[in-house]
């Protein structure tokens, strides 16, 4: 398939809902335990937060990753035409936020989210 154009509007969207709509069109994703989102509970380095998304449902078409409280929530969007429903990356987070993974499979949208804490350190037992 020919690669589509880079989705400028989706990356410019300021709100999470708006960004999800800009990527996937209308319709809200349903939370699903088949979307395995692996992010740390606390970021070791807010400039490099490792994220892995594994979509366990069949016919995965796309995965997108969002950081709700980033100035522009969309981080990345992957479309699959042969690869499995999996995507990993490292991303920047401005502050503590929910991280949201949205999966498109069989024409439907599914999601998972987890809070990732960005914190000053310096305490310890």
């Amino acid at each position: 398939a020919l690669a589509a154009e880079w989705p400028k509007d989706a990356f410019a969207a300021k709100q999470l809902d708006e960004a999800i709509r800009a990527v996937f069109g209308p319709g809200a994703p349903s939370p699903s335990t088949a979307v395995k989102l692996r992010v740390p509970t606390q970021a070791e380095n807010s400039a490099q937060v490792q994220i892995q998304v594994l979509a366990e449902m069949p016919n995965v078409e796309a995965i997108a990753v969002f950081v709700e409280k980033n100035p522009s929530p969309l981080v990345a969007h992957a479309s699959f035409s042969g690869a499995e429903g999996y995507f990993s990356a490292r991303m920047k987070m401005g502050q503590t936020s929910d991280v949201v993974a949205v999966v498109k499979a069989g024409g439907k949208l599914y999601s998972a989210k987890q809070n990732v804490k960005v914190t000053v350190g310096g305490c310890g037992g």
């Binding site: 070791e44 490792q50 000053v120 350190g121 305490c123 310890g124 037992g125």
Partner: protein, 554 residues
């Protein structure tokens, strides 16, 4: 001394404390968080260790009388002194000092002799840091002490603050063939490969026993990341599950996790991961007299946490039958120096390793009129002393001192030596700092640290205590959420001004900074000038939501 011996006339006979009848066929010995305390010291347990959410009122969030009641310990007994702060000064004079590797070695040898060929000795880490000699030898004095003590397996936290290269050097050269250094949750930050061996399976008394290591998951956040820039940590309980399944598939009949998670994280991990028989944990320095039993989808898991400062040795006897753990007995033994003769070989080693530093360690800086201790969610008198010194010497508006849980205790009338001061401050990033921070920045710091302590989900905590503050007063609402816990902060009676810059003294910055005068020099300067110190009530913020909490006693 005399007081110590006399104490047992009308109490248990000294020998009874350590006569633990063998049970079953496999024994795990566990110590953790010794923080390099080679010689006996005093160590006061906390009077504030508040649990929030589901952890409220459950071990380890019990102090004083609530702890005694929960574990059915007789008030006034030697165990009551070991596990609580109650009547600390009087009881400490009566029962004497605790810990020390020479006394611990005697106990380990005694237990091993009573259980020949069936023990594994696990050290949960925070072993190479916490004393002047550990710092000055880059952990070497403790590494050699661990080997002499007979530790079989370890995991780590503060060990990493000597830097990745030093850790690698010790693991590959010093520990090789003698002590396994395990961590299933330390990976190459880019490619994800494991840095250390995740587990070992040892045949103990014909029983295959698997030990899986779990290093402190938040090392790069709670301590300087620049020390270990290429390593990534985390709780990684999905990988833990994988390791458990893997060792079970290889035939392990006992699966134990040697953890440095902190007890609240251990409890949550035990509820999520299937197939672990026991988690032997550390980091939060909780000395818990009996195991907590956690149910999960695979059955149940015991969680044990074994205190700090070489004050305890935990003994877990397991009866392994028909391929699984059928029963167990547990005893947490406090190490009382008066009751255990020092091991000769270890005594000689400790004397040798300390000799080059004797005069430096022994310098008398001042005499304390009151009890100096550290443990507690908000402050201790020794922390207050550090705060007082920072404010005075640095001429600051506000002082911050980190909420570490290690450090020894001094009784009224004791001389404060350089060694004692180093017991509170000996870290590899001890530079004393002066920063100009806005009221807003100060509020954010306090909120972040309060969240690390009182987030209701343990995976979002970090297992330390609240930063100690001077020059600033505030109210802390324990049951609030991030951003709302710190209320009405004031400086010199006036509200903390979000836009104004304050001069803030501190130490132990986790950011890479220009190395400068270490905090012990600042405090030593203060103590030498004072000659005698009298620390009043340590400053504790006004607390909301704490009264009636079994983890709170004042």
């Amino acid at each position: 001394g005399l007081n110590g011996r006399k104490a047992f006339a009308g109490d248990k006979k000294p020998a009874d404390l350590y006569d633990v009848a063998p049970f079953g066929n496999v024994t795990l010995l566990h110590m953790t968080d010794s923080h390099a305390q080679l010689i006996p010291t005093y160590y006061r347990e906390p009077n504030i260790n508040i649990g929030v959410g589901a952890a409220r009122g459950k071990p380890p969030h019990l102090v004083g009388e609530a702890l005694l009641k929960h574990f059915n310990i007789k008030p006034g007994s030697i165990e009551a002194h070991a596990f609580t702060f109650l009547d600390f000064e009087q009881a400490a004079r009566r029962y004497g000092k605790v810990g020390g590797y020479a006394h611990l070695a005697t106990l380990v040898k005694k237990l091993r002799a009573s259980r020949p060929g069936r023990t594994l000795f696990l050290d949960g880490g925070d072993t190479w840091q916490g004393s002047a000699t550990a710092l000055w030898t880059k952990g070497q004095d403790m590494v050699d002490a661990q080997k002499l003590l007979g530790v079989d397996i370890m995991t780590a936290h503060w060990e990493f603050t000597y830097g990745a290269e030093r850790v690698k050097e010790i693991v590959e050269k010093d520990l090789k063939g003698q002590i396994e250094f395990l961590a299933q949750n330390v990976n190459d930050a880019t490619w994800g490969e494991l840095i250390f061996k995740p587990y070992v399976i040892r045949e103990i008394n014909k029983v295959p026993v698997a030990i899986i290591g779990q290093a402190f998951p938040y090392t790069p956040i709670a301590n300087p990341r620049y020390m270990i820039p290429d390593w990534s940590f985390g709780i990684n309980d999905d990988h833990m599950q994988k390791m458990v399944d893997e060792v079970r598939a290889k035939g392990a009949q006992v699966v134990a996790v040697l953890s440095h998670n902190g007890m609240d994280v251990d409890l949550k991990m035990a509820s999520r991961v299937r197939g672990i028989d026991v988690i032997l944990g550390g980091h939060t320095h909780d000395a818990v007299p009996a195991p907590s039993l956690v149910k999960n989808a695979g059955g149940q898991t015991l969680v044990i946490n074994s205190g700090s400062n070489s004050k305890y040795l935990a003994v877990l006897d397991l009866d392994v039958r028909n391929g699984k753990v059928a029963d167990y007995r547990f005893k947490m033994l406090p190490v009382f120096a008066n009751l255990l003769p020092p091991d000769k070989e270890m005594t000689a080693y400790i004397e040798k390793v300390r000799a080059p530093y004797a005069s430096k360690l022994g310098e008398k800086l001042a005499v304390t009129e009151g009890l100096l201790y550290r443990r507690g969610n908000f402050n201790g008198t020794f922390d207050q002393l550090i705060i007082d010194a920072l404010l005075a010497v640095q001429g600051a508006d506000i002082a911050f001192s980190p909420g570490f849980r290690w450090g020894t205790t001094l009784l009224p009338g004791d001389a404060i030596t350089m060694e004692h001061l180093m017991d509170q401050t000996a870290i590899t990033y001890a530079t004393a700092t002066v920063n100009h921070l806005t009221g807003e920045q100060i509020k954010i710091i306090l909120e972040d640290i309060a969240d690390n302590l009182y987030h209701t989900d343990p995976y979002y905590q970090q297992g330390g205590d609240m930063v100690r503050v001077g020059g600033l007063q505030y109210t802390l609402d324990i049951n609030q959420t991030h951003g709302k816990r710190i209320q009405n902060p004031t400086v010199k009676g006036k509200p903390l001004d979000a836009g104004r810059k304050y001069k803030v003294a501190g130490w132990a910055s986790v950011q890479p900074i220009e190395p400068g005068k270490p905090v012990w020099d600042v405090v030593a300067e203060y103590l030498r000038a004072a000659k005698t110190v009298r620390v009043g009530q340590p400053y504790i913020p006004r607390l909301k939501g704490a009264s009636g909490n079994p983890g709170y006693a004042v």
